[in-house]
């Protein structure tokens, strides 16, 4: 069954990027304010799911040829290695540190090791959610 989805398809093309940027925003907002890798990852996945609703599974897989299992594994490794940094300094696992850096354009920014951990969480959440949805959605 092929319905005419012109409106939702056109809107999605625009909205997807807003959702994507919003997920990045939520990701960075984390730590001190509500947000973080988990929520950001879910928002990102919901954006991809919207794409799948507007087009179809096949088209989206062609658009974003991503192996989500791989994303999950990479996310797990990033999270683990960030946390494992503490092992080399012989402080308790998960101990985090932060410092202020002068970055071009952004000016003085605090960079926190928890952010790298959260990057891993973000990737794991996107990877796992999309894996599940693709598996259930692809199963006719």
């Amino acid at each position: 069954m092929k319905t005419n989805d012109l409106i939702i398809q056109t809107t999605t093309k625009l909205v997807f990027f807003i959702i994507f940027l919003f997920s990045i925003h939520i990701f960075f907002a984390g730590h001190y304010t509500p947000g973080g890798g988990f929520v950001g990852g879910l928002v990102m996945s919901s954006g991809i799911v919207l794409l799948m609703l507007a087009f179809d599974l096949k088209t989206v897989q062609d658009m974003l040829p991503i192996n989500y299992t791989l994303i999950t594994a990479i996310g797990l490794l990033i999270a683990l290695f960030t946390a494992a940094g503490s092992i080399f300094f012989n402080v308790p696992f998960f101990t985090h540190v932060y410092d202020y850096f002068n970055l071009p354009l952004l000016g003085e920014t605090s960079i926190h090791t928890a952010m790298f951990f959260d990057t891993g969480v973000y990737l794991v959440v996107v990877g796992v959610t999309m894996n599940i949805i693709q598996m259930i959605g692809g199963d006719e």
Partner: protein, 495 residues
Amino acid sequence: MINLLLFPVLIPFLFAAVLLLFPKKVKAQRIVTMIGLLFALASSFVLLYKVKVDGVQALTLGSWAPPFGITMVSDMFSAMLVTSSLLIAFFVVWYSFSSIGEAREKAFYYPAILFMLTGVNGAFTTGDIFNMFVFFEVLLMSSYVLIVLGGEKVQLKESIKYIIVNIVSSSLFVITVGYLYSVVGTLNMADISVKLAEIGPSGIVTVIAVLFLIVFGIKGGIFPLFFWLPGSYAAPPIPVIALFGALLTKVGVYAIMRTYTLFFTTDVGYTHTLLMILSILTIVVGCIGALAYFDVKQIIIYNIVIAVGVILFGASVMNESGMMGSVFYLIHDILIKGALFLLIGIIIKITGTSDLRKMGGLMKRYPMLGWVYLVVAFGLAGIPPLSGFIGKLLIVQGGFEGDLLWQSIFILASSLIVLLSVIRIFIYAFWGEEKGEHLISDKKYRHLLAPAITLATITVLYGVGAEYLVPFMGDATNVLLDPSLYIDAVFEGVK
């Protein structure tokens, strides 16, 4: 290396994540899994040594002060359990190479095993009751994968049952932790122990104790909560059953022993008597089941139930002999159930059936298998000097010291039923006329037999060398019976 106690948890996790990168390369999967397990085993042996020399190890994650951070604690009891779980996993993975089949190996079989080990070792190591729930979930998620992997009809049927039972028990777990938190206002296990001792005997604490017994009893398979176990454990292929049978019920048993020695020591007259009665009933139903079936898998699975009863009986009497017996028997049971499942797995592979009545006369073609099985069977029943003997002896001694005369005699009598149930397998499968055909080649037979024999040898050494293990068991028992050792280790430098 203050993070040492985390290594047996983190190394399987790291290797599981690496394995996800190349799921279809079977050879690489096997090699990487073995390397990971060897590293983890090495770290757990170092940990054992460190705990033996320096006493209980504790680490509060993220440099937070206990009781606010999540504390991980490794005493001798948990270090030994971590080591034996990795040991079992090593042999099961080795056995899987020639038994599980490529289709499953390509479908994340090895990562699932390693993730499950992360959960199992984490649950053994954690010193935070909510974190224990999290690790339970990690191991359950992976066990869902393992039980359904392959997608045979019986697996799908049993996995639904398994998942529903575990979801119910997990939610009850969170509810119970919530009750406990509302009473003591902390989740750190050492801190809970202190606070509960301050509160003293009270009705709500006893209710929480019984709720914990229900939660962990479902996982551990005590009477009357074991109903899901015989069906679900029989569904997956043999290496997975070996892993489940040897490890998963033991996590529940460990949690009961930990909470009933660390938390709920104020109303022993009620809680521990209940535990004792339930453990005796568990042995009764286990014995009935072990004799009732002609299915080799069911016979061994009901023997798991019996063992759970025996271990918890030793723990419930709360004296030194009983507790040391429980620790001895718990480790013995992990090793021996692993070995038994691997051996009956070979029998099932050879004959193509798990029905005793359809097999016979294997002794002629496979004498080695027969004798190894007989030794392991004697070990299970506790014939000296094999591994089950010393544990059961101490448990019974503890029972006598605790004035539980009839119960102790009953435990002794149950050993005879255990012996009968496993010897039935020997008589039916190995004696008599050769029946049916032999389905596996000699090469495959040798490949399957090698890990099983090595594991069987370890169980024999465990029994014969029990004398050398006594100092380790003594340390484990001391911490269980004297929670202040555990508490001091956690709050070292804080209070």
